[in-house]
C-alpha cells in the first residue's frame, strides 16, 4: 500500500542536518573512489551514489537507542547514527585505528553500546533474523527499542530474509525492514529476482504491513520510516517498506555497469536526491558556507586520519577470536627457537 505520511516533516534545523549527512555520505564516497583507484582501499568499494536519501531519511526516523543494521551501501546510516567519518575512512583503508582494526573491511563495523549500529556480514539477508533477535532481546529487557535493517532487491530473495520475517511476525517484534530496490543485484535486474511489481507485496506472506516509497525523496523516506518505526514501537509488529531508487554506479568500482541502459541513468540522474532536497531547502548563504566548511574539514580530516594511521601489526591476527586468546595462539615446535 502507499503510505500517506502520518508524520509531518522534521523542523528545519533537523532537515539541515539531514542535508549535511547526505552531502557527507556522498563526499566520503567520492573520496573513497579516488582512494580506491590509488589502490589504498582494502576489499571492494560499494557506492551509495544516488541512494543516500534512503540511508539518511531512515536513520533520522529512529530514536536514540534504536538498533540499526546497515548493509554495505548504507554508510550514510552509519554516519547519521553516530559513527565518525574517521571510522568510515579508516575501515576502508584497513588501518589499526579503524573500528575493526583491519580485521574486516568496507561498511562491516558497528558499536551496539555507543551507536546501536550492527556490523553486517557479506552473506546477504542474514541481518534480518539477527535484527529481529535484537528487537526481541530489547523487548525482553523491557526496553522500547526499534530495530531497523536494509535488504537489497537481490537480498530479498534469500531464505534469511524470509525466515527472519516469519520469526519477527509471529513474535510481533518491533522490526522495520527496508527493501532498498535499486533495480539491480550486481548485474541482475529485479525482474530476475521476482515477478512482483512492488517487492513490498512480500509483506503479504507474513501478514504484516507493506509500504512503497520514493527512495530519492529524503523527506518521504523519513516520514514513511517514521510511521513504521512508531507502529513497530507501539507493538504493531514488523513493518516492510520498499524504497525505489537506482544504483548510480556499477556494483563495485571494477564494474562499469554497461548492462544498465543509458536512458535509465539519465532518467534517475534527474531525480538525484541531494539536488532535489537542495531545491526544497533553499539554503541561505550563511547556511551554505558553514555547511561547506564543516563538510570539507570533516572529510579532509577523515582521509588524513585514515591515510596517516598505522597498519595493524601482524600479531593482531591471532587475537580476539575468543575471550581467551590462548585458545588460538599456538607456536609449533619448529617455529619456537627459529
Amino acid at each position: 500500500m502507499k503510505a500517506n505520511p502520518a508524520t509531518e516533516a522534521p523542523p528545519r534545523a533537523i532537515q539541515l542536518e539531514m542535508y549535511y549527512y547526505l552531502r557527507l555520505t556522498r563526499a566520503l564516497d567520492e573520496r573513497a573512489q579516488i582512494l580506491y583507484r590509488q589502490g589504498k582501499i582494502i576489499g571492494g568499494l560499494f557506492s551509495s551514489l544516488g541512494q543516500e536519501a534512503i540511508s539518511i531519511g531512515s536513520a533520522f526516523a529512529l530514536e536514540k537507542g534504536d538498533y540499526v543494521g546497515p548493509m554495505i551501501r548504507n554508510s550514510g546510516t552509519v554516519l547519521a547514527r553516530g559513527h565518525s567519518a574517521r571510522e568510515v575512512m579508516s575501515n576502508y583503508l584497513g588501518k589499526a585505528t579503524s573500528p575493526t582494526g583491519g580485521k574486516d573491511n568496507s561498511q562491516h563495523f558497528g558499536d551496539i553500546g555507543r551507536t546501536g549500529v550492527v556490523s553486517c556480514i557479506s552473506m546477504l539477508g542474514t541481518l534480518v533474523p539477527v535484527m529481529a533477535g535484537m528487537a526481541l532481546g530489547a523487548r525482553m529487557k523491557g526496553e522500547k527499542r526499534v530495530a531497523l535493517t536494509y535488504v537489497g532487491d537481490g537480498a530479498a530473495s534469500t531464505g534469511d530474509f524470509y525466515e527472519g520475517l516469519v520469526f519477527a511476525s509471529v513474535q510481533r517484534l518491533p522490526l522495520v525492514v527496508i527493501i532498498e530496490n535499486n533495480q539491480y543485484a550486481y548485474s541482475t535486474p529485479t525482474s530476475k529476482q521476482s515477478l512482483l511489481k512492488d517487492l513490498a507485496d512480500k509483506s503479504k506472506a507474513f501478514g504484516i504491513p507493506g509500504y512503497v516509497g520514493d527512495g530519492n525523496d529524503v523527506l518521504e523516506v523519513h516520514s514513511i520510516t517514521r510511521k513504521c518505526a512508531d507502529d513497530a514501537r507501539e507493538g504493531r509488529g514488523p513493518q516492510l517498506i520498499e524504497f525505489k531508487t537506482l544504483r548510480m554506479r556499477g556494483h563495485a568500482v571494477h564494474d562499469d555497469a554497461s548492462y544498465v541502459p543509458a536512458e535509465l541513468f539519465e532518467e534517475w540522474k534527474k531525480k538525484d536526491p541531494i539536488a532535489r532536497f537542495e531545491r526544497k531547502l533553499r539554503l541561505s548563504r550563511e547556511e551554505k558556507e558553514s555547511l561547506e566548511g564543516r563538510l570539507k574539514s570533516t572529510v579532509d580530516d577523515a582521509v588524513d586520519f585514515a591515510e596517516t594511521s598505522p597498519v595493524p601489526p601482524g600479531e593482531e591476527a591471532c587475537r580476539g577470536v575468543f575471550e581467551d586468546d590462548r585458545i588460538v595462539q599456538f607456536t609449533p615446535w619448529w617455529k619456537k627457537d627459529a
Binding site: 539477527v130 525482553m140 529487557k141 527472519g164 520469526f167 575471550e323 585458545i327
Partner: protein, 322 residues
C-alpha cells in the same frame, strides 16, 4: 544427592542456570508445553513462562539469527535443535555471524547451541549425524560433547556462562541409558579439559561421547593391558596437554570415534601427538572410526558402520603388541 539420567542432568543444568541468571532463556521447536522432542525442557514453561521458553516457528536460520541478535544485546540464549542434524540448516549464520563477531568488531556472542546428537538409535541418515568437526573447523565456536550425567550438567553450565558461542552435543543414546548421582547446584566444569576415565601405563585410548561407554566395555576384555582411557569432553579446544602427557607415559595411542573417518578428530590428534610427542611414540596412532558414509538406518547396517567393542579390542591388542 539426586540420581540423574544423562537427560535429567542436562535438564537440571539448564534449570539451575535459568534460576540463577535472568538473561538465560531457551529457544527452539516444541520446547514449551511439549517439553521438547526428548522432554529435556519438560516443566520449564510452567516455571519460566513463554518468554524465556520461547517456541519458534520451523525456521532454523531465522531463530539462530535471532538468538545471535539477542546475545548481542546481553542475553544468553540457549538454542535447541530438535535433532542436531538440523544445525546444517543454520550453518551460515553460525559459522559466519556468530563465529566472527568478536574477531571482526569485538562484539561478544554468548549463545549456546544444543541438541540430541549421534547414532546407535536406528534413526537413519538425518537423525544421527556427527556434526562436531564441521564446527571444530569453523574458528570462533567451542564444541563440547560430554559422556556422563555429571559432566553433562557441569559442561552445559559452562557453555551457558561462556562469553563465546558454544555447541553442546547431547548423545541421545545416552539420554536415558546412564544414571549418576549429581549434586544440586553443582559448579560448572571447565571447557577444554579432558577427563582421565581410567589411568593406565600401557597405551592411551582417547574417545568421547557414546564411544566412552563402548571403550569401557572393551576394557572389560582388556584386563591384561594397562589402558589409560581419556574422555575428551571438549572437541574444540582440544586438551593438548592431557593427550601429550598421557602419550609420554604410555608411548602408544589410539583414538576411537563414532564420527566418520576422513576429517574426524582422530586425525587432528594424530597430528598433535606427532608434533609434541613423536619421540615418545612406540607405535602408530591408530584410528577406530566409522567409514566415510552417511549413517545407515537398519540396525544391521548401523552396527556395521559404528566402531564395535570388538573393533576396539582388536585395535588395542594390535597396538599393545606392536
Amino acid at each position: 544427592m539426586p540420581e540423574l539420567t544423562f537427560l535429567q542432568a542436562i535438564s537440571r543444568g539448564l534449570w539451575e542456570e535459568m534460576e540463577a541468571d535472568k538473561s538465560v532463556f531457551l529457544m527452539g521447536e516444541d520446547i514449551g508445553r511439549y517439553g521438547g522432542a526428548f522432554k529435556v525442557t519438560e516443566g520449564f514453561l510452567d516455571r519460566f513462562g513463554p518468554e524465556r521458553v520461547l517456541e519458534t516457528p520451523l525456521a532454523e536460520e531465522g531463530f539462530v539469527g535471532a538468538a545471535i541478535g539477542a546475545a548481542y544485546v546481553g542475553l544468553r540464549p540457549v538454542v535447541e535443535f530438535q535433532f542436531i542434524d538440523f544445525i546444517a540448516c543454520a550453518f551460515d549464520p553460525i559459522v559466519n555471524f556468530a563465529c566472527t563477531s568478536r574477531y571482526r568488531w569485538g562484539q561478544a556472542v554468548p549463545v549456546t547451541f544444543r541438541g540430541p546428537w549421534g547414532g546407535a538409535t536406528k534413526a537413519g541418515p538425518f537423525h544421527s549425524r556427527n556434526v562436531e568437526m564441521w564446527f571444530a573447523h569453523a574458528p570462533g565456536i567451542k564444541v563440547v560433547a560430554p559422556s556422563t550425567p555429571s559432566d553433562a550438567k557441569g559442561l552445559i553450565k559452562a557453555c551457558i556462562r561462556d562469553n563465546d558461542p558454544c555447541l553442546f552435543l547431547e548423545h541421545k543414546a545416552l539420554y536415558r541409558r546412564i544414571k549418576e548421582e549429581v549434586p544440586d547446584h553443582s559448579p560448572p566444569i571447565p571447557i577444554g579439559k579432558a577427563r582421565i576415565v581410567r589411568e593406565g601405563s600401557g597405551l592411551t585410548m582417547v574417545t568421547y561421547g557414546l564411544m566412552v561407554h563402548r571403550c569401557l566395555e572393551a576394557l572389560g576384555q582388556l584386563q591384561d593391558l594397562s589402558v589409560e582411557l581419556i574422555d575428551l569432553r571438549t572437541i574444540y579446544p582440544l586438551d593438548r596437554g592431557a593427550l601429550v602427557e598421557s602419550v609420554k607415559k604410555t608411548s602408544k595411542i589410539m583414538v576411537v570415534h563414532e564420527d566418520t573417518r576422513t576429517g574426524g578428530v582422530a586425525g587432528e590428534i594424530a597430528a598433535i601427538v606427532n608434533e609434541e610427542a613423536f619421540e615418545d611414540l612406540d607405535g602408530p596412532v591408530i584410528r577406530v572410526t566409522s567409514p566415510d558414509t552417511p549413517v545407515p538406518s537398519a540396525p544391521s547396517l548401523e552396527e556395521a558402520f559404528l566402531p564395535s567393542v570388538r573393533d576396539i579390542v582388536d585395535a588395542a591388542r594390535k597396538l599393545a603388541a606392536y
